[in-house]
């Protein structure tokens, strides 16, 4: 059985004309890697279903110089953040589970949120 073999460089602009661009990342998994999924000798090392995605992202070459050194251009992030298509918060473990991050799904407006902020004691020596 052969696995999908596609051109990893093939990024498609799905919604042109000012709307947020969505890249379709293709990926491939060569035969050796595919076999390692079920081979008892290598299976444990492969267990980590993220590997195809990791590979795809690297191969797509969408960033240069290593992760985290190139922020998305500000215009893009502004456009997206103003957009209404995407739910803005999610169960991101790096903040929610590691740093005391809280889900604030449905704050109707800034005033309501600040009202909440005012409700809770600031702790010794500080205001919000």
């Amino acid at each position: 059985m052969n696995v999908i073999i596609l051109d990893a460089e093939n990024c498609v602009e799905i919604e042109p004309g000012g709307k947020p661009m969505k890249y379709m990342l293709m990926f491939y998994l060569n035969q050796t890697e595919f076999n390692s999924r079920t081979d008892p000798k290598t299976r444990d090392a492969f267990w980590g279903s993220f590997l195809p995605y990791l590979r795809a992202v690297r191969e797509a070459g969408i960033f240069a110089g290593g992760a985290g050194l190139e922020p998305p251009d500000t215009a893009t992030s502004l456009r997206i953040l103003d957009g209404t298509r995407l739910v803005q918060d999610g169960p991101f473990a790096e903040t929610k589970e590691q740093l005391g991050g809280y889900f604030l799904i449905d704050v109707p407006d800034l005033d309501a949120a600040l009202e909440w902020a005012a409700r809770y004691p600031a702790g010794p020596g500080g205001g919000v």
């Binding site: 995605y53 953040l81 803005q88 449905d106």
Partner: protein, 409 residues
Amino acid sequence: MTETHVAVEQAARDSWGRLLAFLSARSGDVAAAEDALADAFQAALETWPRRGVPSKPEAWLLVAARRKLIDAARHRKVHEEATPALIAITDVAQQMADSAETFPDERLKLLFVCAHPAIDLNSRTPLMLQVVLGLDAARIASAFLVKPSAMGQRLTRAKTKIRVTGLRFELPGASDLPGRLDAVLEAIYAAYGSGWDDVAGADNRRKGLAKEAIDLGKLLLQLMPAEPEVQGLLALMLHCEARREARRSDRGAYVPLSEQDVVRWSSAMIEEAERLLENAAQFGRIGHFQLEAAIQSVHAHRAQSGQTDWESIAVMYEALVRIAPTMGALVSRAAAVAETRGAETAFQLLKEIPIQSVETYQPYWALAAHLLKRMQRFDDAKSAYTRAMGLCEDSGMREFLRQKAAELN
């Protein structure tokens, strides 16, 4: 009488969503279908004790609901348009009574209607929960911190929109499908988020909906088995859910991910999530839900390797912020970069995010505080901790942040 109640409850659990979906699809009117179905269940409670529980409860309920729909249509003086649809219901009910056949499962169409572009963004999740899972408005309201009356109005408006606009109960065409499916997935994702912090069920005001979100995800998977983003979303939710028991200590204290006891993680859920993610990878169509799930998979891998592969996490966040640059993704990416490139670099990334977007986004402040602390900017850290505390309602979380802030002294 008790036997009837049990039978009716069972029918409601098993069939409400499917019955409502079918009746809605045929009548184009979710609200009328709900009323008719509720009346049908009421009639069952009254009739079955006398006549016995029917051998095909669904067929019985369908016929009863149809009768109510006709009565309602007559009352509203809606004639010709309603009749063909209602006849169709009768035919189906008849077939069901005569054979082992059951009626078509229209829940997929119902899910797509709930997330239709014409439906208000913050009505989609509540609508799905109510009409597909049968949750009551009060429960949904409490999960989203909205007054029950306000939620009730929101739901009514959405259902009126469906009827008045004449939204079609049909699957989107091939070119529309990715966007429309993403809207369905986003609505389920939002439901999952509402269930996050209420680990022990302690806060009665905010009973979470994590289980219901996963139920919706599993239903969608059953109805659309060949969509990788569907699998990605379910994998993501299962990975998060797998760690629920580890997030709080026995005394209710917040336990950070890096300190969680992996023995408390559900290996069954993790394995199911991993299978889904591997399966999704076969399709070769990465999307933002698969990427989020893949990031979760790296975290889960700590149970195998004893370490967290932050480099892989950071790489995948690079992709995520390009295809789905939400506040959550941008802030979390900075958190990952803090582990691979240090606090200064991460803080620069945080500062790239427009401040007005994150005024009330608590995780931003929690991360800022953490980074400022690492950079030894203690006064700024203290302010950020205070702000993060002020923006959260969970006492366990505030206590955690308070302790972190206290360490600055």
